[in-house]
């Protein structure tokens, strides 16, 4: 295992401090703090509309959101001024809750363009068609995807499960340092859930971290988190270990909300 010698090892992988953000005139994050160390798996849970997806999108650099206060540091560097593509090239990956259809653009084309954009920014040579196909077919086996999938248009006519598997395939191909998976488990049957979880688990490594944004604890039965956070009303209101997820499953969110209000 090679580690990034140049990265400041003392800085956490991701450090969010007092983050406030809004979209149009609506405040969506209201002083959020979160620190993610290398090699850790975090789960962010919370009721609907609490800001979970918003947080994912803001870290990824979605232009419609405006950060009004606070900082986000990735490997010690300020992430906020960077364009979304720059964040991706530096090793951030967002698995979309609703993967987007791009008609007429092949999966293989997107995957290759994405991987080569990243390699180029790291001063690496672009992969040629043969090496690329060898690599991606390898990853497709992990995700149990048929090769015919490569020539299909991105997410067009995909079932919900296929879209989510496609997200994980992209993640495996790009090998990010930090992956945020936004409700990757929603809409999956139990078999697909297991394939997705297996895919995510193959990526776990001491220098790589994963954030699972989810409603339910069932994904966490397959991918064991080191930390569990509750996000409500634009802030992390409680953090704990994986037993917190089980407790939320049993008791719901109201008691945490009451505790936070008290």
């Amino acid at each position: 295992m090679t580690s990034h010698a140049e990265a400041p090892s003392t800085a956490p992988l991701l450090e969010i401090r007092d983050l406030h953000a809004r979209i149009k005139d609506r405040a969506v994050l209201k002083g959020l703090n979160l620190t993610i160390g290398r090699g850790e798996v975090h789960a962010i849970m919370g009721p609907n509309g609490s800001g979970k997806s918003t947080l994912s999108q803001i870290i990824a650099g979605r232009p419609e959101y405006e950060v009004t206060r606070g900082t986000v540091r990735f490997e010690g560097e300020d992430l906020l001024p960077l364009a979304p593509e720059e964040r991706a090239r530096r090793g951030f990956f967002l698995g979309f809750q609703y993967p987007v259809e791009i008609p007429g653009v092949n999966n293989v084309y997107l995957l290759k363009a994405a991987l080569n954009a990243k390699r180029k920014s790291h001063g690496l040579a672009e992969l040629d068609a043969f090496d690329f196909l060898t690599l991606v077919k390898d990853k497709m086996r992990v995700m149990r995807m048929d090769e015919s999938f490569l020539s299909r248009a991105v997410n067009e006519g995909f079932s919900g499960g296929e879209k989510k598997r496609n997200e994980i395939l992209q993640m495996l191909t790009l090998e990010p340092t930090l992956a945020v998976l936004d409700e990757t488990d929603s809409g999956l049957d139990i078999d697909a859930l297991k394939i997705v979880a297996d895919g995510v688990n193959t990526l776990r490594a001491p220098d790589r971290s994963i954030v699972l944004v989810t409603h339910y604890q069932r994904l966490l039965e397959h991918i064991t988190p080191d930390f569990v956070h509750v996000l409500a009303n634009g802030r992390i209101i409680k953090s704990g270990d994986r037993t917190l997820a089980l407790e939320l499953e049993r008791r719901g969110y109201d008691w945490v909300l009451e505790e936070a209000a008290a």
């Binding site: 950060v67 964040r87 991706a88 979309f96 791009i102 008609p103 007429g104 653009v105 994405a114």
Partner: protein
């Protein structure tokens, strides 16, 4: 975080790469149009009497006509008396015999445009006719084509060397009185390309014509005639550019295609006339009549067009399906940015039995541009078993542009099957963000989305032109998003 550069609305910023002017001495007739000017053009070209008579009849008819205004485009009136109807580079009073005699400045011009005329430099397998303002300056690969029996030359040469073919076919697909611009073209056309592929011959290479407007205050009125005799096959491509000028320039061409029994003609256009600047100053008015007649049984005509240039486009490449079991196709990508306006589409006229047509039209609008698809599918009473499939898709980039669809369908045979599908979509912030979140730059993401949208049309273009078209699209929409 919401920097201005990320904003979909901050689209627009197009660079036109062919806007230079060639400094060459020209023989240009004074502006104005009358019978003397027409006689002058005809004399200059040494035309036979029948052609002069034909021009004059067209002109007299044109005088009785009025400019059409039904298209969804808006522009100030054109002053037809302020246009010069003939301009030719002065060197070589007679058409050059070989490339070595062509003015080096002209060769340089085509090199700059990426169309090297020297055959050794040219991609093998493509013959080029280069038309500069009113005259053809060079045609490559003539000898090799002649060996196969294919005639590929400038229209002027065809008038001299093959007057019988010209007389037999000229104006039989687009009669001089067809419409206002066709009548004008018939009166004053100067040059263009002529192709005749004899019976049973498959043309051994792609043919192409490259049109360049250079002189100021001139119009370009070219005329192209392509005939594929029984069982012949030909693929032809046309490209066009013009310098950047603040005045509008008129381009009113006529293209006629004739396909006899079992013949097939594939006609592709990559149109990149100067579109005017961001504020709509300057640019070419592209008022063009293109029509193909499938005269023979089982004949086939296919139009593919990629329209990225011109301030105003008024153009409906059409097929008249006379022969039984003949078929017509129309594949179109029309890109409009800034203040460009395009009203384009096709007509498929089904006359013969079991005739088939398909239409795939893709419109892309950005900036403040307006793009319209206008199409007619007409099934005549005798067109037993006719079929048509039409698909029109519009892609909007930004909030200030527009896309419109005007499909006309006339079915006068109850057995016909006519299908129409249409969609309008906006380049999504979602699509853009999704691709950027994968590390792809905003510019590349837009190109990817647009190319995907146009895929069904691009795959119809000959290989090397598909690449050119894709690049052209990228240039036209440069800075269009992000």
């Amino acid at each position: 975080m919401s920097s201005k550069a990320d904003d979909l609305e901050s689209l627009i910023g197009q660079k036109y790469r062919h806007g230079f002017v060639t400094d060459i001495e020209s023989d240009t007739v004074a502006p104005g149009l009358n019978e003397d000017v027409i006689a002058f053009i005809s004399r200059k070209k040494g035309e036979p009497q029948f052609l002069l008579d034909w021009r004059l009849r067209a002109y007299r008819h044109w005088l009785t006509m009025t400019e059409p205004h039904w298209a969804y485009v808006d522009y100030p009136p054109v002053d037809y008396q302020s246009i010069s109807y003939y301009s030719a580079p002065k060197t070589n009073a007679n058409a050059p015999k070989s490339l070595d005699e062509v003015d080096p400045k002209l060769l340089e011009t085509y090199d700059k445009l990426g169309i090297p005329l020297h055959e050794r430099a040219r991609l093998a397998g493509v013959a080029v006719d280069a038309v500069f303002d009113s005259v053809s300056v060079a045609t490559t690969f003539k000898d090799r084509l002649a060996k196969a029996g294919v005639i590929f030359c400038s229209f002027s040469e065809a008038v001299h060397n093959h007057p019988e073919l010209v007389e037999q076919y000229l104006g039989t697909v687009v009669p001089p009185a067809d419409n206002y611009y066709a009548a004008l073209n018939s009166a004053v056309f100067t040059d263009g390309s002529f192709v005749y592929v004899p019976k049973g011959v498959r043309c051994p290479m792609e043919l192409s014509t490259y049109f360049r407007i250079n002189a100021a205050n001139t119009g370009q009125f070219e005329r192209t005639l392509i005939i594929a005799a029984e069982g012949a096959h030909v693929s032809y491509l046309e490209g066009c550019t013009a310098p950047k000028r603040d005045e509008n320039q008129l381009h009113a061409a006529v293209v006629e295609l004739v396909a006899l029994d079992d013949a097939s003609i594939k006609y592709s256009t990559v149109q990149n006339w100067y579109p005017g600047d961001e504020n709509g100053v300057g640019g070419i008015y592209n008022f063009v009549t293109k029509r193909g007649e499938c005269r023979g049984a089982r004949s086939h005509i296919s139009w593919t067009q990629v329209e990225t240039g011109s301030a105003i486009t008024w153009k409906y490449p059409s097929c008249v399906l006379l022969g039984d079991h003949s078929s017509g196709e129309f594949y179109s990508v029309a890109v409009t940015n800034h203040r460009q306006q395009a009203d384009t589409g096709t007509k498929m006229i089904h006359v013969g039995r079991h005739t088939k047509s398909s239409i795939v039209a893709k419109g892309i609008s950005a900036g403040r541009a307006q793009s319209s698809y206008r199409g007619l599918v007409s099934i005549q009473p005798g067109a037993e078993g006719a079929r048509n499939f039409t698909q029109c898709d519009s892609l909007l980039m930004g909030p200030d542009c527009g896309a419109h669809t005007f499909p006309y369908v006339e079915v006068r045979n109850p057995g016909a099957i006519v299908e129409h599908e249409a969609t309008t979509s906006r380049i999504g912030e979602d699509q853009l963000f999704y691709l950027r979140a994968r590390g792809i730059s905003a510019e590349d993401a837009v190109n990817m989305i647009v190319s995907g949208f146009c895929k069904a049309v691009f795959k119809e273009l000959p290989m090397e032109f598909a690449v050119e078209a894709q690049n052209l699209l990228a240039v036209s929409l440069e800075g269009a998003v992000g």
